[in-house]
Amino acid sequence: MTAVLPRDTRGSVSTYDVEAVRADFPILSRQVGGRPLVYLDNASSSHKPRQVLDAERDFVEQHYSNVHRGVHTLSQEATDRYEAARSTVAAFLGARDAHELVFTKNATEAYNLVAYSFGNAAAGSRFAIGPGDEVCVTEMEHHSNLVPWQMLCERTGATLRWIPLTDDGRLDLTDLDALVNERTKVLAFVHVSNILGTKNPVDVLVARAREVGALTLLDGAQSAPHEVVDVQALGVDFFVLTGHKMLAPSGIGVLWGRKELLDAMPPFLGGGSMIEVVTMSGSTYAAAPERFEAGTPVISQAVALAAACDYLQAVGLDRIAAHEAQLTARVLDGIRGLDGVRVIGPDTIEMRGAAVSFAIDGVHPHDVGQSLDELGIAVRVGHHCAAPVCRRYGVPATTRASSYLYNSEAEIDALLDGVVTVQRFWGTA
């Protein structure tokens, strides 16, 4: 399969050609309310370049069939492309072996897969969990990496603990050694927070987890789209991403896990494809990753995800990260210059991603979002599926602007001008 590369945007960071990137994304040329769309809701979901749309269309039009099931030509071509997609995404993450990569329908399913594997494990297994055992998360988790663990603890009698937050939006690691201890079975935490933008010190957390023999799961939904991720260098045991936040369609997510762990884990969903021998009295299960891909998988979406990985690598993730850092600095500097507007989360560029949550005094985020929409600016408002974070910082919700590889400095300026317009309309500036 030939990767269709984006227009040539290679070169130094200073010559990052955002207009060339933008030209690959058809939706960016549309208008909203008679104004050019300014899309700053990328932490929620991203748009798709033609190269990804074309790859999915080509696959469906020319090679589509079910996978792992037939001997006919299309079945083989579809299977080859599905497995090639697995290899591409595995390489994208720096995985040792494509068999360490499980396709799921989204990140949420991946967390649930791991949590249910713990719950389903036989007594004495490494994954068995029960009263006296602990699961540790952080207070800044997305609900998808919090609720499955709460449910696991409810089912098994294990105890859920969490690392609290500092006033400036970082993890408070003061009591880390007590929170992650000999009873901890798994430490599940977010790489880059979707609401605060905080980038967490993976090395510190992994080091502590290893000291006590706890497994680590890293939520990479907000990191994998934006920077080079090497799961081996990170040293975690599981890593999760979702396709739709990284230029691919919705309906495809990824669980990466160390092979020896996946091979030892009991299955989550039962059904076709995940079995070895089935009799009426019982079944044995396939090896990973098939063991965790029951039923017809998300086929064309996996092919599209691989195309998205190719696209991101062709533009260059280091260059994307540098471009986004410039945009994020512009947002933070701009907000710092506005009276009555404050950032919720780290207000400097160090150890942070591109999502910036903020509050405008005297204007509810819903009204901020609606007023910005009238200017053609798309931001997310609400609790961002991280309600405990809003509670921690005493706000009902936040307004969040999150940029990506195709956003421009002019769009950041439009946002900042829009915030001032909102303040004037609501009589708060």
Binding site: P365, H366, D367, Q370, V381, P396, F425
Partner: protein, 147 residues
């Protein structure tokens, strides 16, 4: 969408603050955005004697709750419920309904909100809390009469 009437009610809400006496208190939330309202209802002799509330939320949810209290306090429960149905119908109209000012008074200002499906639930938060609380108040008083 942001009519002057809505902004007035948002900045100077009517009947806000929790009061005694009351028959039923409910707490309604909009889980997608975190808006919430705690609302108390006092029903006596089939009349909505008082509605008091406290809450937090966007201009639409807060103003709509304020307008609602104006429209239901002092009315017979049946009539207040009909008003609530008229408001619900307006909010589900996607901008296609000409509201009756005699029935909805300041509530007509929300006609524009009905064109924004994402905001309709904001406009209905206080109304749904009131309807829930009133139904409970009526049920408990009729239950009491039966014994």
């Amino acid at each position: 969408m942001y009519q002057e009437i809505i902004l007035d009610h948002y900045r100077r809400p009517h009947h806000k603050g929790l009061r005694d006496p009351y028959d039923v208190e409910v707490h309604h939330v909009n889980p997608t955005c975190g808006d919430e309202v705690t609302l108390r209802v006092r029903v006596a002799d089939g009349v909505v004697e008082d509605v008091s509330y406290d809450g937090q939320g966007c201009s639409i949810s807060q103003a709509s709750t304020s307008v609602m209290t104006d429209l239901v306090i002092g009315k017979q429960v049946d009539e207040a419920l009909r008003t609530s149905e008229a408001f619900l119908e307006l909010m589900q109209s996607r901008g296609q309904l000409e509201p009756d000012e005699d029935v909805l008074e300041d509530g007509i200002a929300f006609a524009g909100v009905s064109r924004y499906p994402a905001r309709v639930k904001c406009a209905l938060l206080g109304w749904m809390a009131w309807k829930d609380a009133t139904a409970q108040a009526v049920a408990s008083s009729s239950g009491g009469a039966a014994t």
